[in-house]
């Protein structure tokens, strides 16, 4: 319950009534002390009050305008948007990269809004497909290719490289392997992979920003080959990274591996969240709730839904032949997320860092096969070489 606080007086000129309400726009803009006694009183002083908002936005725009137009890079494309952390978009983006016509394309690639009719058709169903031996072979092949592409991206991660440069390499690597980069035009996503830096939880859009020493970067790769999608991601260290970030990344990786260890026929999909959250919480971290793992095969995202938080209502029990991803996003601070005005980039509301790891898994008679596992270096994730 709220403790007794100093009595606040209504901001309206001439009104000295008790103020228990606050202007939500001021909260968003960081203007302190906009307390009012009632909505009517507030409306009465709205004409003058809104000038405060105007001024705050102009001040912010001015300070940022100085930095943002360096070398034709715009780092403040959305007027009035209040960033949660230090990261900024770096626009403009390079035009959408074409994929040669002889590479098989998923249905959404040519849809004007990037919608997948095949996915929409199955929306809401919780029936999980049991893959045939031929389908399983198709998944093995595409997941191996996706892994190759991620390993190539990993080699590029160092200070000074822009996320767009990594995306370019990813795009070329996909094409060379006769794969379509699944994110491209998926619901109009503009790039071929997702690059998520520091406080970005997932779905970061590769842009002109150069990686900085101390950043953590997640690269999420999905490729489409011969009618199947393969999906994986890893978080990497950029240069020298502080202890807290190392712990976060390590714990996140462990969360994924512990969840994978439990996968076998008969286990409920909703159990994975319990395992992940337990380990994250034990290390003082939180689990992102808004995004989840998913079934994947001929469709990019389909049943089952795999939330990563505890006590969820996920429907389904694992059976041999099921294929799905587990992709926990773990945060240093709170789990609450918000989305940038680009409609994609998910960031933590408190601006603290978030890490993620992902594999595509096939449930077997006795456990599971990690289809996207690394084949060299004993299957270790890349960051481990830098711990």
């Amino acid at each position: 319950m709220a403790s007794t606080e100093a009595r606040r007086e209504c901001e309206t000129e001439g009104c000295s009534r008790d103020a228990k309400l606050q202007c939500p726009t001021c909260i968003k803009l960081g203007i302190q002390g906009s307390y009012f006694c009632s909505q009517e009183c507030f409306k009465g002083s709205w004409t003058s009050h809104k000038l405060l908002h105007k001024k705050a936005k102009e001040d912010k725009h001015q300070t940022e305008a100085k930095n943002c137009m360096e070398k034709d890079t715009n780092t403040d494309p959305w007027l009035g948007y209040r960033y949660t952390g230090k990261l900024r978009p770096h626009y403009p983006l390079t035009p959408m990269r074409p994929v040669p016509g002889d590479i098989q394309r998923p249905d959404y690639a040519d849809h004007p809004r990037g919608m997948s009719e095949s996915e929409q058709f199955l929306k809401g169903t919780s029936q999980i497909k049991i893959l045939s031996p031929e389908d399983i072979e198709g998944m093995r092949v595409v997941c191996k290719l996706a892994r190759e592409v991620l390993d190539i991206a990993a080699l590029m991660v160092k200070p000074g490289v822009t996320t767009e440069e990594i995306d370019h390499a990813v795009h070329l690597a996909c094409v060379a392997r006769k794969c379509y980069p699944s994110p491209l035009n998926y619901y109009n996503f503009p790039k071929s992979c997702c690059t998520s830096v520091n406080e970005v939880i997932c779905h970061g859009i590769p842009d002109r920003r150069a990686l900085q020493d101390g950043d953590i970067l997640n690269v999420d790769i999905t490729v489409y080959h011969n009618g199947f999608h393969g999906d994986l991601n890893e978080t990497f260290f950029v240069g020298e990274v502080e202890e807290g970030a190392k712990r976060l990344v390590q714990t996140t990786y462990e969360c994924l591996m512990q969840a994978i260890d439990s996968v076998k026929p008969g286990v409920r999909y909703r159990e994975l969240g319990n395992i992940i959250q337990k380990h994250a919480q034990a290390n003082g971290f939180s689990v992102v709730r808004s995004y989840c793992g998913h079934g994947i095969h001929r469709l990019f995202h389909t049943a089952p839904n795999v939330p990563h938080y505890a006590k969820n209502k996920a429907v389904g029990v694992m059976k041999p032949g099921h294929v799905f991803t587990i992709e926990p996003m773990i945060c240093e601070g709170g789990w609450q997320d918000e989305t940038w005005p680009d409609g994609w980039t998910a960031v933590t509301r408190d601006g603290k860092r978030s890490a993620q790891f992902e594999h595509t898994l096939l449930v077997t008679e006795t456990g599971c096969e990690v289809l996207t596992r690394r084949l060299e270096d004993n299957g270790r994730a890349h960051f481990l070489a830098q711990m």
Partner: protein, 368 residues
């Protein structure tokens, strides 16, 4: 955008963005065209003129719209708001686009007191309900309060009895099956005998639903709002309701009906989960004719070994939840009561399986 000039709704001082203090109830209102849904909505809006109520007409489409309008009633005035259904990530998002759009709107413009969602006559209220029946862990600003269905006293019987082709469901029946409250409207247009028939048919489908009979959709608003049908607050009330449920006789072949049983004893939690999953997800249980049982709505109070609190069970289609209620068993017998609403149900088969697989050895006494 134009919003900068709009005077926003003030928020209480202690609340911070991102931390949902107060949760807003969502009521889903279903019923065939002409039954009186719109009249009901208008009535609610005019009666509750000192509350801020959002009304959304028709459920959200198949991701085709980028925006959706909703009407907000406040201080006797009705104005329009827009929900931005950002197409961005529909893919691996846990929350439905429509739900997120409502939360975003409330964050910008302040919270509503109630949200009423009117669905089209043919909609499956279960699908709409699952949009709003989110895990408590998601900390949503919104919670599912209940499903209300409006039935036309004059044409309702015909709609409920309509035979559909094999495999197709009778939407009117399904709406009744999922309802927490059924309003039989336009009673002034029918004779006593017809009204009885409608009431009996509704009761035969759903043994739990509260039934109100109205003219011009005039109801006591406390019977429609704040139903809390999906949360544990009213554990004691649910126990009472469950005790009063009688199993129903089908009025038609292949119709939806209510089956119920009670068994005293403690349950093994894992075994209960398996039982529910076999029933709801795997559809493993069949009736005597070999047809798989299909459950639309599931409610119950159960006792787990070692837990002093009564546990509430709620299910809609394949989604289900077990939650501890504030109610303690204390000295009362640990009587587990379950109510199933669906097709091809066989109470005896269910009870038998339940007793043999879920109830722990020891005190086993089958009730009626």
């Amino acid at each position: 955008m134009e919003e900068e000039d709009d005077c926003p709704e003030l928020v209480p001082i202690d609340s911070q963005p991102g931390l949902p203090a107060r949760q807003i109830p969502v009521t889903i209102i279903t019923g065939y065209l002409g039954a009186g849904k719109t009249t009901l909505l208008n009535y609610i809006l005019t009666e509750q003129h000192n509350k801020r109520i959002a009304v959304i007409l028709n459920e959200f489409g198949e991701g085709s719209a980028l925006e959706k309008s909703l009407a907000v009633s406040q201080a006797g005035e009705l104005y329009e708001e827009w929900l931005e259904l950002r197409n961005g990530c529909l893919c691996c998002s846990v929350k439905d686009n429509g739900l997120k759009a409502i939360e975003n709107l409330m964050e910008k413009k302040g919270k509503f007191d109630y949200i009423l969602l009117e669905t089209t006559g043919l909609a499956d209220p279960g699908a709409v309900a699952s949009m709003f029946w989110v895990d408590a862990e998601l900390g949503s600003d919104v919670y599912l309060d209940g499903i209300v269905t409006v039935i036309d006293a004059k044409y309702g019987l015909q709609q409920l009895k309509e035979e559909k082709a094999e495999g197709l469901v009778n939407e009117a029946s399904r709406q009744v099956a999922l309802a927490d409250l059924a309003i039989i409207n336009k009673t002034d247009l029918v004779e006593e005998e017809e009204l009885n028939q409608v009431r009996n048919t509704v009761r035969s489908i759903n043994g739990l639903v509260k039934i109100l009979e109205t003219q011009r959709s005039r109801v006591d608003l406390c019977d429609v709002l704040d139903l809390h049908s999906f949360d544990c607050q009213d554990g004691a009330k649910l126990t009472e309701k469950l005790q009063l449920v009688t199993p129903t006789r089908p009025h038609l072949d292949k119709s939806i009906l209510t089956a119920t049983f009670e068994v005293t004893g403690d349950l093994c939690e894992d075994a209960l989960n398996t039982f529910i999953q076999d029933l709801l997800w795997e559809k493993k249980f069949c009736n005597k004719a070999g047809e798989p049982m299909s459950v639309i709505r599931l409610k119950g109070i159960v006792s787990f070994a070692g837990k002093v609190h009564q546990v509430m069970l709620q299910g809609v289609h394949e989604l289900y939840e077990l939650n501890e209620t504030p109610q303690l068993w204390e000295e009362n017998p640990h009587t587990n009561r379950l109510v199933f609403i669906g097709k091809n149900l066989d109470k005896n088969i269910l009870q038998e399986i339940f007793i043999s697989t879920v109830v722990m050895d020891g005190v086993k006494k089958a009730g009626v």
